[in-house]
Structures are given as structure tokens and as C-alpha cells.
């Protein structure tokens, strides 16, 4: 028990500088009215690692990442990306900086086939452009579809895709923006074993190509084969950090999950 308290004290004094990782959050805070969703959270993500960002439902995982990726500005704290202060930048600018994300609730464009959904992510943020006329973005979009395992269905409407297909499309869309850091929100929710393995392979190969991944999930079961390091939060604060093995045996984490149930 005494070990546990020491550790918490450790955590609270931790301070990160802009150069401590590719993505660094320092004292990140988000309040909604009187409710504190993210409570002075600090963390650093190293280049080319796969970080599992874990916490029970309502722990503040999504809010944290909405603040980091610019969906809404944080109430306080600083976000550094590649050593640069990017706090409060709008979402589309974060994408330009090299940070992309997938969504838990998919937002496919239902008026066009899968490949054109991916193609949108290749469109430049310009009003006047000749990009795409020569068919090169279409070719690239098709290649991305094949890489994420949508090769057979890329000409279908996204509404015809099964759940796993939607996830792959989200992943493809995020990849198409050529991110350095990609945030993947609950990739394995509602997937069968075989599909989990397929997606795991895709993400591992992305890491091998130099990408940094942050995978958000409410439990770690599906993530064990994927992540290098886990970061566990509850009520908007960090409760543990370490390798998956360490996290599994951490009493604080076990307590957070239904009073000691194994995660």
C-alpha cells in the first residue's frame, strides 16, 4: 500500500517540457460548467510508440482527446506537439500539423462510395486547385483502401459496410491525411477475434512505417498484443502508467474497475 501512495506522489509532481515527447500535455484541464472532466492531466507520448489510453466509462478519455485534437479548447493547460505549443488550435489545423484521429461514432459521407470518402481526406485545403484532375488522388485513395483491408468493398456505399468495415474506413480516412500521430478511438468495440487481429496488424504496420499511435479504450483486454505502454485515467486524473503487465497488477487500477475486478 505504501508503494502505491509513493507512486501517486510521484505522478503529481511530474512535469513535462515541450521536448519530452512528440505529443505532450501539461496540466490539461477541461471543465463543463462546474464539472471537471479532465483534472490537470499531464502526459507525454514518445515518437513511434503505441500508447494505450485506458479508463472506465466516463473517465474523461474522449474529453482529453477532444481537447488535444482541437475539437474544443481546454479550460487550462498546454498541449505541445512536436515541441510546438498547439493549445486550442482548431481541429483542421491540428490535422495540418500532423495529428489525425478516428471517431467512435463514425461519420461516413453517405452520398458517395467508400473510396471517395477516403479521397476527401486527400483534398487540399485550397479553393482553387487542380489536384485530383489527373486521377492521382483516386489512385492513392484506392491504395489506402487496399492497405486497410477494404479492397473488395471500396466502390460500395459506406452504409452497406459491416461494423468492422466502418472502422477500417475511419482508419483509412485518418491515414490519408498522412499523420505523424494518430489517435484511434475504441477500435475494437464490437469486433470479433479475427477482425481484431486484422486491425491490430494494420496498426502495427503503421507504427513500423514511423507513425505514433494512441489507442483509446475502456479496457485493456484487446490491446495487450498491440500497445507498448498503458496510461490509465479515472475521473480525469492519471491513476497509473506502465507496461501492460504492470498495469494489470496495479491495485489502484483493479480498484477502479469495479472494486478489484481484473481487467
Amino acid at each position: 500500500m505504501s508503494v502505491g501512495t509513493e507512486r501517486v506522489a510521484d505522478v503529481e509532481t511530474e512535469a513535462y517540457g515541450p521536448e519530452d515527447g512528440v505529443l505532450v500535455a501539461q496540466d490539461l484541464r477541461k471543465e463543463f460548467g462546474g464539472l471537471v472532466a479532465v483534472d490537470d492531466l499531464s502526459f507525454a507520448v514518445q515518437s513511434q510508440e503505441i500508447l494505450g489510453f485506458i479508463g472506465p466509462n466516463g473517465a474523461g478519455k474522449s474529453t482529453t482527446f477532444n481537447c488535444v485534437t482541437g475539437t474544443y479548447p481546454p479550460t487550462g493547460g498546454t498541449v505541445y506537439f512536436k515541441g510546438e505549443d498547439v493549445t486550442g488550435l482548431p481541429a483542421y489545423e491540428m490535422v495540418h500539423k500532423g495529428m489525425s484521429r478516428t471517431f467512435q461514432e463514425f461519420a461516413p459521407l453517405e452520398d458517395r462510395p467508400v473510396v471517395e470518402n477516403i479521397e476527401l481526406a486527400l483534398a487540399p485545403n485550397l479553393l482553387f486547385t487542380a489536384s485530383g484532375i489527373g486521377g492521382e488522388t483516386e489512385r492513392l485513395a484506392r491504395e489506402i483502401c487496399r492497405r486497410v483491408g477494404l479492397g473488395d468493398v471500396m466502390d460500395q456505399s459506406p452504409s452497406e459496410l459491416p461494423h468492422a468495415g466502418m472502422l477500417k474506413q475511419e482508419l483509412g480516412r485518418a491515414i490519408a491525411t498522412q499523420p505523424d500521430v494518430m489517435l484511434v478511438d475504441e477500435p475494437f468495440a464490437g469486433l470479433a477475434g479475427q477482425e481484431v487481429q486484422e486491425l491490430t496488424d494494420v496498426m502495427l504496420s503503421l507504427r513500423d512505417h514511423g507513425m505514433t499511435l494512441i489507442v483509446v479504450d475502456h479496457n485493456m483486454r484487446g490491446l495487450l498484443n498491440l500497445i507498448d505502454r498503458a496510461f490509465v485515467i479515472q475521473f480525469g486524473s492519471k491513476i497509473a502508467e506502465g507496461t501492460p503487465e504492470e498495469i494489470k497488477n496495479d491495485p489502484k487500477v483493479q480498484e477502479a474497475y469495479l472494486g478489484g475486478e481484473e481487467i
Binding site: 483534398a123 479553393l127 482553387f128 492521382e136 488522388t137 480516412r173
Partner: protein, 409 residues
């Protein structure tokens, strides 16, 4: 995001090739044929018929201007006549009250409409939600009132006034006409009708060309994606506000330009409120929406076809002076079908919405594609998901529910 495209070197060559193959595709051959036929219309029409048909060309341009912003982004403008009024009055005042040449008037009128677009669009489109619709509902009515308010004159801008509801006193000079005020004076009616038609046709080509190029570039894809889901657009690094505002301002400029040319080359153009807003102040704004939806929302070409349908229906129905049986017995006075205008035209729009929800042009294209595929013995291509009208309506429902604080299903 540094989008690196493979084989950068041969890109120009491939683009040229892609454009060429696209232009010789059947769809575009038909399109070009259509334009050529439109250019040959004067060979089969009497000058008086041609004069009324010339107005259809302006309907096309007005509907295209609406389609660029509302058809593509799904941000419905209910008051596009605001821009037609700005363009039309702009050029009329520049030429008659400031005595400047017609060319300056047209450029100036376009500019006035563009500024109007910036003033409405920038504040309304930075917000996500149905705010643009609300603003565009009010804007033409305010403009209408200001025509009355400043009927006697605005210092420097319009020294002789805006003329109230009856319009400007001095008609804007025509580019080509019989009278002595025209730029090019002719002495025969048919020459003037022909000249007006081709000037209008030229303006249509300019409008069609610029809007077509813009919407077929990748920016067009971004616009339609905004119609589907703005969050998705933001999440791939595109700024929706920038695209929406540009589309709106561009649309305002196109509408203003069309109205400005109309004042100098149109058949029945006169700068009064009835001409620019329609007899009921909002008719013209609503008509362009119906035209674009009949032809196919978010296609540009659809507006051309829609205007033909609309003009045709209007002419046919306007000519039906047959009394509707039974009405006289009920109400004591006779009512002809022509009197019920614009109800039949609206009915036509409703029928198209129900049976051809994508509009005439996209449905015809898909039908043709299936037919070709069947003839070649191939699998028919898959249908293309949700129609623009459906998406737009779904978006509005969502946004209004957000405002009312109600959760969607």
C-alpha cells in the same frame, strides 16, 4: 500535411490526358451537344418567341448561382433574389445615375452583389447551423424596404434615388436595341432579339464555365462533403467555414453578374422590385430553388435543364385559359388553369421530388449508365447512396433539434 503524390514528374501530362478522356466521354459529348443546340435555338424560333425564351437563359444563370452554394453545401439560401436585386440595381444606377459605360456597370453590379455576399455570408457561415437560411430569408425583405426608404436618393451612391416599389425611372441602356439609347443601334426587331439572345448566351457560357470548373475540382467534393457532415470535413484537415463562405460569395457574384447582364441585354428587364424579387417579393428566390431541385441539386447542369422545364411549364400553363370545371358553381366566378399559376409549376416540382428525388439530370445519367452497362453485358453500377435533398433535409432536422435541445433518435 504534405500530400506527396507518387510520380510527381509526369503529373501535368496525366492531367491533360485525364481531362481529354473525360471530355470525350459520352456524358460530356451529350452536354456539349446540348449547349450547341441551345446556341442554335434562334434558328427555329420566331423573334417574339426568342425574346421570351431569352429569359429562360437568365433563369438558368440564377438557378446555377443558387446551386453553387445551396445545392453543393446544403446551406439553403431562401433569398437569392437579394443578389439579383443588388446586381441589377447596381448596374442600373451606375449607368443611369453616374453616367458610366455599360461594361463598368456590369462589373460594378457584380461587385455590389459580391459585397452583399460577404456581408451576409461571413457572419452567418462561421456558425454551424441553419443560420444562413434565416439571414437569407430576411435580407431581400430588408432590401425591398430600403428601396422604398431611399426612394428619393442616397447622397453620392444613388443621387436620383432607388425609385420605391415602382422602380428606377430611367431604364438602363441596352447593349443592342432599336432605340437611340442603345450601345449598338439596329433598325430591325429580329436583329435586336438575336443580338440579345447571343449576349445572354455568352453570359450563360461564362457562368456555366466558371461554376462547372469550380465544382468539378476537388473543392466541389469538399462542398458536397460539408452538406453530408461538417465534422468529417474538419477531421481531415479542411476548414469548412472557408469553403462555405467562398461558395456563398462566389454564388452572390454569379447571381449579381447574371442580373447585371440581364438589365442590359435581357428581354423584359427593368430595374423594379417586381422584376428582381418577383411579384410577391419572394417568388424569384423560391423559383430558382424549384428549378435547381427539378434539374438536380448540386449538379450545375441540372439548373440548365430545370430552367428549360420550368420555362416550358410556365409557358404551357400560362396558355391554358380553360376554365377549371366546378369552380364557377362553388365560388361564383370562373377560374382558368392559367390563373392558378404558380401552383401547377410548384406541383411539377413536388412530383419531381417524389418520383425523381435526385432531379432529372442525375436520374437520367444513372439510367443511361445502367442501360449502357446492360448492353455491354456488365453488372449494372451500384447506385450512389443518399440524394442531396435527403442529406440537406436530414442536416436541417439535426441542427434544428440541436437548437431546440432535443436529442435525435
Amino acid at each position: 500535411m504534405a500530400t506527396q503524390t507518387p510520380h510527381e514528374g509526369e503529373l501535368d501530362q496525366r492531367r491533360t490526358q485525364a481531362v481529354t478522356t473525360r471530355l470525350v466521354s459520352l456524358r460530356h459529348q451529350l452536354g456539349i451537344l446540348g449547349i450547341v443546340l441551345l446556341g442554335l435555338v434562334p434558328t427555329v424560333m420566331k423573334p417574339s418567341e426568342l425574346t421570351s425564351f431569352t429569359f429562360v437563359l437568365y433563369l438558368m444563370m440564377f438557378a446555377i448561382s443558387w446551386d453553387v452554394v445551396s445545392g453543393y453545401t446544403g446551406q439553403l439560401s431562401f433569398g437569392h433574389a437579394f443578389f439579383f436585386a443588388l446586381g441589377g440595381y447596381g448596374t442600373s444606377i451606375i449607368t443611369t445615375q453616374h453616367g458610366l459605360p455599360i461594361f463598368v456597370g456590369i462589373v460594378g453590379g457584380t461587385l455590389v452583389a459580391t459585397i452583399g455576399g460577404v456581408l451576409l455570408g461571413v457572419p452567418a457561415l462561421r456558425l454551424e447551423g441553419p443560420y444562413l437560411s434565416l439571414v437569407t430569408l430576411i435580407a431581400p425583405l430588408l432590401l425591398y424596404q430600403s428601396f422604398v426608404l431611399f426612394s428619393d436618393g442616397i447622397p453620392y451612391l444613388a443621387p436620383k434615388g432607388l425609385g420605391g416599389t415602382s422602380g428606377l425611372v430611367a431604364p438602363p441602356p441596352a447593349i443592342i436595341d432599336i432605340g437611340s439609347s442603345a450601345l449598338i443601334q439596329v433598325d430591325q426587331f429580329w436583329v435586336s432579339a438575336l443580338g440579345k439572345y447571343y449576349i445572354s448566351f455568352l453570359a450563360l457560357l461564362v457562368v456555366l464555365g466558371s461554376t462547372y470548373a469550380f465544382t468539378r475540382s476537388s473543392a466541389g467534393n469538399v462542398l458536397t462533403a460539408i452538406r453530408e457532415d461538417e465534422a468529417a470535413v474538419r477531421s481531415v484537415g479542411l476548414n469548412p467555414a472557408k469553403f462555405k463562405i467562398f461558395a456563398f460569395v462566389f454564388s452572390a457574384a454569379v447571381g449579381g453578374f447574371a442580373a447585371a447582364v440581364w438589365m442590359h441585354a435581357g428581354p423584359t428587364a427593368f430595374p423594379n422590385t417586381e422584376a428582381v424579387f418577383g411579384p410577391g417579393r419572394i417568388d424569384k428566390s423560391i423559383n430558382v430553388i424549384i428549378i435547381a431541385i427539378i434539374g438536380g441539386m448540386g449538379t450545375i447542369v441540372g439548373s440548365v435543364v430545370g430552367a428549360l422545364f420550368f420555362g416550358f411549364a410556365d409557358t404551357v400553363i400560362g396558355g391554358l385559359d380553360v376554365a377549371i370545371p366546378g369552380v364557377e358553381l362553388l365560388f361564383g366566378s370562373e377560374l382558368t388553369i392559367a390563373d392558378t399559376s404558380p401552383l401547377p409549376t410548384f406541383l411539377l416540382g413536388m412530383i419531381v421530388l417524389v418520383f425523381l428525388p435526385r432531379g432529372v439530370v442525375p436520374e437520367a445519367t444513372e439510367f443511361g449508365r445502367r442501360l449502357l452497362a446492360r448492353r455491354r453485358g456488365e453488372e449494372p453500377p451500384p447506385g450512389g447512396g443518399r440524394s442531396p435533398v435527403e442529406s440537406t433535409l436530414a442536416k436541417y432536422r439535426r441542427e434544428i433539434e440541436d437548437i431546440l435541445g432535443r436529442d435525435g433518435e
